[in-house]
Amino acid sequence: MYNFDVERPTSIADAVQAMSKEEAQPISGGQTLIPTLKARLAAPSVLVSLTGIEEMKGVCMSDDGRLCIGGGTTHSAVAAEAAAHYPGLASVAARIGDPAVRNRGTIGGSLANNDPSACYPAAALGSGATIVTNSREIAADDYFLGMFTTALEEGEIVTEVKFPIPQASHYEKFIQPASRFPLVAVFVAKFSDGVRVAVTGASNDGVFRWTEAEEALSANFSADAVAGLKAEGDMISDLHGTAEYRAHLVGVMTKRAVAAIA
């Protein structure tokens, strides 16, 4: 690790202020950033810790029926507190990493990082969530811009995520045996006006919506409806699985997610 200063703001406003310093970077759970710092792959001069900001923590229902999760809420808090409102989402959070990761890692950190194999991006995109920052609201469809790339501007902080609650949802995950991140995972959400299907782990473009499956499932919500479909795209090929295999798994995971709901 290189040397850095630490700021510990207690409000979003102070955090935004602190972020204006040169080479400042926010840190939440540190579950991604700390290993990066230890490997000397990042060299921020100031780390702005978001963990002391109470207004960024917790789960609540908004008046318009959306589930609002503070950007600084840990995976384990989401797993516990969202369960009654949005069990499909709680189940995503409950299966990320291990207990230590879930007790530190946050939804804001995960969405800001946008790892191509992360779980939350699939849930956010699959739910049609809105990512709220210190300066604006961004629809999930406009937020994820490819591997490790998002619509966030320099210094922008994810303060909250608002999830519309589907009638039913399921996250089907096939793990990569070493990292235990998804090798391919699919989030299926069934709303009254249609179905959304988001895929993580599979594509070189990061999380994506599988629109053919969405159309097929919106017309006929059954595992058979997607049986003949094949996911297209620039799939990842690595030592854990070929592109062809990943494309195949997208279909299998989707089918299983639907079966789990139907």
Binding site: M1, A39, R40, F174, P177, A178, S179, L183, D238, L239, H240, G241, T242, E244, Y245, H248, L249, V252
Partner: protein
């Protein structure tokens, strides 16, 4: 049996108390006054000409004590190789130099180029980043078959090629073997890869060098399985320090699996730098460094053939193997694919003719050396996959084909130079069929199929050569060391004993099992016996622990020393009891005169030895301390039969292990619980190799599986509850305990059973796949099932 547990008792491991309560003392727990830290600047290219190492900017940085480069080691010896293999033409292998820090060239990612010693590790790392390297990249030599083609780039310019040796065994059998193939009724051919592995002991390697200017004594604390071997190799060949001025201490060691046998550059560096800097120098490997500097394991590419007659009798075996040596020869690397592999090719079968060819190849990768099983898993995997393939080609039951060809008479001289003393392969197979409930398999398969899954059953047998090894024999085979073991047994005045053993325990439980033997021999509580190991200043010259040799060789040395103790104690007792020595019996910790009620307790005899008031001083010396060196007359040959049952998800290719049964014959057993634990650990590593672990390089020589993000270690949820049995016991005939060794069996015997089971599952789903390479990942299974 003594109340604290003698031979055969499942005594709980006494060392676990300190391990589990955080009181273990590992090398990284050692911090010496004034200690400085070293950070190694390692090559990030696989192959290149090192034209300049400019340390000028780094020298003046905060906290820097001294910076070393290859230049500082020009007069220093090369890291030696401990085994010289002779090729099929009678020529010695090609043996390149192995510098402590790179000189002129870098030959693998991770090779140390410079070393910064500083006040803190952070400062050392900062300064290392300021070192400017000029490296002219050269094409990386990665694929073994390409490496030995004419005109291939050479890893070592001073060698004639990348071929370390071309070994034929037994060369004189070659023509007869070829003839048997011409006459065969059936020939089964199999090409396979034995995947490269990283050992990954929980504790990474650590070295702390210390130098005492007042007496000129060097001390190295290191994570080693064999401190005396390190002292000899490093002292005599690298740094030129005589043994009496060099102490090597290997305290608690958190797992070795072979990779901590070898002498590494970092050990030599810390010892050298401690004197050069006149202060202790410490290195603790990070996990990332471990991936690119610990010796890797396996990495063989093989073609193997089996010739059978019309009655399905095995007539001949022929193999052609490429064995990766990596960029340099690690300590025992040349012996692994030859003498630890070729001599096992008969397996459990009476195949009259065998020819093994091995080409050892240099590549721009981390050196490869022994990893749990070392050569024997490679032999077992080839042979047991081959026999299974033959059974399917011939349409016969794989167990029946094995039984038909089992060796049934012992001793049995194989055509590959070894003589099995004992074994009963029919008994272990019978036991296995019972344990694995083979009869119930069809019903279990139906249950799986009802869930949309395929179920497969696979077996294999194995034989290993342990208790390494007769020194005169290994000397003829090229070993540059003897492979005896030593023990000094010191009896204290009040009757307690301390055993100073050359064996080293790094997870095996010696501190518990060794005292059980002495407790049995004398009839006292095992708690009266303490084991000392891992310090060249406290133990006699010993060769350490690997090759499942500790109880068979180290234990035998301890028995011999204890026999001397008992013989002398009997003399003392006969004096105290005023009886003839031949009438003295030792039982339950007391000496008695046969046929009388006269007796004297063990403690009274030991006290007399040290307070010799009433003592036959004219005949024997006072004191009770004896040393024995034990050199085995043969290897030991543990054997067994393993069965694996898998469930396969045909949609995803995911394989899960539902049952695993292991029937082993380890000869006599000292502590059954420890033996089961050793088998469990071995099985986890074997299953890890079969399903998950894979060390891979890209064609530029970059390590792709360089962390736990990509190198898949098995976890508890990846392995089943094992069913292990070691009730089939044919005791070893040539060591005093009749023991054979159990440390590697699980890792040797499990991979073929797993792969055979996966292929069986695929067949039941209508996919007759002839072979699939390890690790059998979901992606590979799915791809194989598409074909």
């Amino acid at each position: 049996m003594p109340k604290d547990g003698g031979i055969g008792a499942s005594t709980k491991r006494r060392e676990d108390v300190r391990f589990l309560t955080g009181n273990g003392r590992y090398t990284d727990d050692i911090n010496l006054r004034g200690q400085a830290y070293v950070f190694f600047l390692r090559s990030d290219v696989a192959h290149g000409k090192l034209t300049n190492v400019d340390t000028s900017a780094a020298e003046g940085m905060d906290g820097v004590v001294k910076i070393f480069t290859g230049k500082d080691f020009e007069g220093v010896g090369s890291i030696p190789c401990g085994w010289q293999v002779t090729d099929k033409h009678g020529q010695p292998m090609q043996e390149p130099g192995h510098p402590v820090l790179a000189q002129g060239k870098v030959r693998h990612v991770g090779e140390p180029i410079a070393a910064v010693v500083a006040e803190t590790l952070g400062q050392a790392r900062d300064a290392a980043e300021a070192i400017v390297l000029d490296i002219e990249e050269l094409p990386a030599v990665i694929n073994m078959k390409d490496a030995v083609k004419d005109g291939a780039t050479k890893v070592h310019d001073d060698l004639t090629s990348n071929l370390c040796y071309d070994w034929g065994f037994v060369e004189e059998n070659k023509d007869a073997v070829n003839k048997a193939f011409e006459e065969a009724a059936h020939v089964t051919t199999l090409e396979l890869v034995n995947n490269r592995l990283v050992a990954n002991p929980m504790e990474p390697r650590v070295a702390v060098g210390d130098y005492n200017r007042s007496d000129g004594e060097h001390t190295l604390y290191t994570t080693s399985q064999n401190p005396h071997v390190i002292r000899l190799l490093m002292g005599a060949f690298v740094l030129g320090i005589p043994e009496h001025k060099l102490r090597v201490v290997a305290p608690d060691v958190g797992g070795g699996f072979g990779t901590k046998i070898f002498h590494y550059q970092e050990e030599a560096f810390c010892t050298f730098a401690a004197k050069a800097c006149n202060r202790p120098v410490k290195w603790t490997s990070s996990r990332s460094e471990a991936f690119m500097s610990d010796a890797h394991g396996r990495d063989h590419v093989t073609k193997i053939e089996l010739a059978l007659d019309a009655e399905n009798n095995f007539k001949a075996i022929r193999t052609d193997t490429y064995a990766n040596m990596g960029a340099y020869l690690s300590t025992f690397a040349p012996s692994v694919p030859t003498w630890l592999h070729g001599i096992l090719m008969a397996g459990n079968y009476k195949t009259p003719l065998i020819y093994v060819n091995v080409k050892a190849v240099f590549t721009n990768t981390v050196p490869v050396d022994a990893y749990r099983g070392a050569g024997r898993p490679e032999a077992t995997y080839q042979l047991e996959r081959l026999v299974d393939k033959a059974a399917h080609e011939l349409g016969v039951d794989p167990i029946k084909l094995r039984r038909q060809n089992f060796i049934t008479e012992f001793p049995y001289a194989t055509p590959v130079a070894v003589e099995y003393d004992t074994g009963d392969y029919v008994a272990t197979m019978d036991k296995l069929e019972e344990m694995s409930d083979l009869a119930g398999f069809a019903a279990r398969r139906k249950e799986s199929e009802a869930k949309g899954k395929l179920r497969g059953f696979g077996v294999n047998c194995y034989i290993e050569a342990c208790g390494i090894a007769p020194s005169n024999l290994v000397g003829q085979l090229g070993a540059r060391a003897g492979l005896y073991e030593s023990a000094t047994v010191r009896v204290n005045a009040t009757g307690g004993l301390v055993v100073m053993t050359g064996s080293h325990s790094h997870g095996q439980g010696h501190e518990t099992a060794f005292p059980q033997v002495i407790a049995e021999m004398i009839g006292i509580d095992a708690s009266m016996v303490e084991i000392v190991h891992g310090d060249t200043a406290r133990t006699p010259m010993g060769m350490g622990t690997y090759g499942s040799r500790s109880i068979a060789v180290g234990g035998s040395a301890m028995v011999r020393a204890t026999e001397k103790i008992i013989a002398k104690a009997k003399k003392i007792a006969s004096h105290l009891l005023e009886a003839s020595e031949s009438d003295i019996e030792l039982k339950d910790g007391a000496f008695s005169v046969a046929g009388t009620d006269k007796s004297v307790a063990w403690g009274d005899v030991t006290l007399a030895a040290y307070v010799p008031h009433n003592y036959p001083l004219e005949d024997i010396e006072p004191g009770l301390e004896e040393t024995a060196f034990y050199d085995p007359s043969n290897f030991t040959y543990p054997s067994g039969a393993y069965a694996c049952e898998v469930e396969l998800d045909p949609e995803t290719g995911q394989v899960t292990i539902e049952r695993f049964s292991a029937a082993d014959d380890f000869g006599n057993i000292i502590n059954p619980m420890i033996v089961s634990g050793q088998v469990h650990g071995g099985l986890a590593q074997g299953i890890g190799q079969a399903l998950m672990e894979n060390c891979t390089y890209d064609s530029d020589g970059q390590l792709l599986s360089a962390s736990y993000m990509d190198y898949a270690m098995p976890r508890a949820s990846d392995v089943p509850f094992y069913d292990v049995d070691h009730s089939c016991q044919t005791p070893c005939t040539h060591n005093p305990l009749g023991v054979k060794g159990c440390g590697e069996a699980g890792a040797i015997g499990s991979p073929p059973a797993v792969v055979n089971a996966v292929l069986d599952a695929m067949r039941s789903g209508g996919k007759d796949v002839a072979h699939i390479d390890m690790p059998v990942t979901p992606s590979r299974v799915w791809a194989a099932m598409q074909g």
